[in-house]
């Protein structure tokens, strides 16, 4: 009996390694064109290449382009940091039909969109806590173009969050309270406005999302909403839409990020899918890495090496000892 068991394990073991060795020739993987996406793709690439003997080809792109390509063409095979909210209408059917699979529904923890203030602003006003408190004080955030109003920096024109911010601006009745909604024009404009405010210790209130280097770098503080989430239905039919006649006060919808793989890879990927499922970056680790990348102006590959060296305790829990040893040897 014991012998049989041993043999079966051995056979299964062999079969498994055989499968991986056979399939794991070439893998195409998405490298999302923002810092955390870059880092995650390069960490995956290093671990898969050194630890599992794969040959990984990175495909650079944005959320919609990568998703469309995976959904229609089946390449790339893996997308590490696929943001779900914006794609839900397309992603849900793809997952339901089995064309794509979510192998990890939370590869990064502690993420989300919302309204942020710099730490010194928060410190200077301990009595103000939630969004409801802050919006009573537009005088703390004078607008450059009309100092009698408070500037709330929203989302660049044409982004999905533009409607959300505008509708929340209305729902919290901010215009009557003396605020103007500032359109930063682009991601560079939004980042620049945060950077400028922080370099000069000016107060700032506006939209951003985490994990990002700019949030980590300036230690920006998320403002709690002080109101309940009004539910998916109101969010989907009103808050996130351009035409929303009666927006209700609500907190921001919970953001979700998945690691998704194509159906073909789900079948053939073997233990690589186990690795992808186990690979979870805690929010503070991701934040620290993003600050490192911004400060050192490090590209994804350099950052991935730094991560593997600095956070050995973390990533070795994602893989077997055998694989960990191979990756460590390669470093």
């Amino acid at each position: 009996m014991r012998n049989l068991l041993a043999t079966t394990t051995l056979l299964f073991g062999l079969a498994a390694t055989g499968a991986v060795a056979a399939e794991c020739g070439d893998i195409t993987m998405a490298e999302f064109n923002w810092a955390s996406g870059e880092l995650m793709a390069n960490v995956d690439k290093l671990i898969l290449e050194e630890g599992y003997g794969c040959n990984v080809d990175l495909v650079i792109g944005g959320t919609t382009a990568i998703f469309a390509s995976m959904n229609e063409k089946g390449t790339p095979q893996i997308a590490g940091e696929q943001w779900v909210n914006a794609l839900r209408e397309l992603l849900d059917p793809a997952l339901a039909e089995g064309r794509l699979h979510a192998v990890n529904t939370a590869p990064i923890m502690g993420l989300g969109e919302g309204w942020w203030i710099p730490p010194y602003t928060k410190e200077a006003h301990p009595e103000l806590v939630t969004v409801l408190d802050w919006i009573e004080h537009p005088e703390l955030f004078p607008s450059a173009e009309d100092p009698s109003k408070g500037a709330f920096v929203g989302c660049p024109a044409g982004w999905g969050c533009q409607h959300v911010n505008l509708n929340l601006f209305k729902a919290f009745d901010m215009e009557a309270k003396g605020w103007v909604l500032v359109n930063p024009g682009s991601a560079a404009g939004l980042d620049g406005s945060i950077a400028k405010a922080n370099e000069r210790e000016e107060n700032w209130l506006g939209y951003y999302w985490s994990p990002t280097s700019i949030i980590g770098k300036y230690n920006m503080q998320a403002v709690p909403w002080g109101v309940e989430y009004a539910g998916n239905e109101h969010w989907d039919t009103c808050i996130s839409q351009e035409e929303c006649t009666d927006p209700q006060q609500t907190s921001w919808i919970q953001s979700e990020v998945f690691t998704i793989v194509t159906d073909e890879f789900m079948q053939s990927g073997g233990e690589i899918n186990d690795y992808l499922a186990a690979r979870v970056f805690p929010g503070d680790v991701m934040g620290a890495m993003l600050v490192f990348m911004a400060d050192e102006q490090a590209a994804g590959e350099d950052a991935a090496i730094e991560f593997l060296i600095e956070y050995e305790d973390l990533w070795t829990t994602w893989v077997s000892e055998d694989v960990a040893a191979k990756v460590k040897a390669a470093l």
Binding site: A144, V153, P156, G185, G189, G192, S193, K196
Partner: protein, 295 residues
């Protein structure tokens, strides 16, 4: 052999320190002088804000009347006047009136600013070959450097909004008026200058009564080019939060809204054509005028 195939690079760490050093220096500079630079531009912000509010608050029939009056004054061409009225009506009917007015305000103020700075600079260049040899390469840089590159320091210094947008537009749009002012003055016939000297004209008299009038057609060609280039920068200015047609174009690009992009893009083109035709006609009339006197 390796030395020939691999370029002898500075080395990763040194290069990174080099870049970080530059960034750090600029950051210190912003912290030190950012606020005073912002205060320096505050009057400009006030003026632009006032001008924008004025244009947007003006009732549309009055605005069309004023604009067609300006077109008539510049071109003396009924065809152009009717063309302008038609264009404005179509733009307004398609729901782009307010954005068009924002863009018009920005372009007008940008053009004024470029002329106020550009013409004196051109005169200076024409007075001395050394000044010319210093300014010309700077103008070359301003015209060719990708605008995204200077958006970063402008953002750090002035944040987002109208004034940084205006400055970005002017950096790109000012070179033609400077170059053509310089060229126009330098092209004035030596014989005419000798005649002026013979009549005992002081350098100041020579400049204002002989050189400038004769150079006007060239200067006007420069102004015309400056306006065109300013319009080309509308979308880039929108990237740092300037209202107007550019903002809608960006929105269209981000969402693949074909019609929205086309409509707003064509509205920019329409403004450009009106500006171009009027300033060209005006330039031609100036030329005729001078031909009669000096010809």
């Amino acid at each position: 052999m390796g030395i020939l195939t691999e370029f002898p690079e500075m080395g990763r760490a040194d290069l990174r320190d080099f870049k970080k050093g530059i960034d750090e220096t600029f950051r210190l500079f912003t912290r030190e002088y950012g606020e005073s630079i912002e205060n320096f531009f505050y009057p400009l912000l006030k003026f632009l804000g006032w001008f924008e509010r004025l244009i947007v608050a003006t009732p549309w029939p009055l605005m069309i009347l004023i604009l067609s009056g300006l077109v008539w004054a510049g071109s003396r061409s009924w065809g152009l006047v009717f063309g302008t009225i038609f264009t404005l009506l179509v733009v307004g009917y398609l729901g782009m009136w307010e954005d068009t007015m924002f863009t018009l305000a920005l372009i007008s103020v940008a053009t004024m600013l470029c002329i106020i700075i550009g013409i004196p600079l051109g005169i200076l260049m024409s007075k001395s070959d050394r000044t010319q040899s210093v300014i010309t390469p700077i103008l070359d840089i301003m015209q060719t450097i990708p605008s995204f590159v200077y958006l970063i320091p402008i953002l750090m210094l002035l944040g987002i909004g109208k004034v940084p947008g205006l400055i970005a537009v002017c950096i790109y749009a000012i070179p033609p008026v400077v170059r053509l002012t310089n060229l126009g003055i330098r092209l004035v016939d030596k014989d005419v200058l000798e005649a002026a000297d013979a009549f005992g004209a002081s350098p100041r008299q020579k400049l204002w009564t002989v050189q400038m009038p004769l150079a006007l057609p060239n200067i006007f060609a420069g102004v015309n080019q400056t306006i065109m280039m300013a319009l080309a920068m509308v979308v880039v200015a929108a990237l740092i939060g300037v209202h107007g047609l550019g903002q809608e174009v960006l929105k269209a690009v981000n969402n693949q809204y074909l019609a929205l992009g086309m409509m707003n893009g064509l509205a920019i083109v329409a403004i450009a054509i009106v500006f171009d035709r009027v300033s060209q006609k005006f330039g031609k009339r100036l030329q005729k005028h001078s031909e009669v006197i000096h010809g």
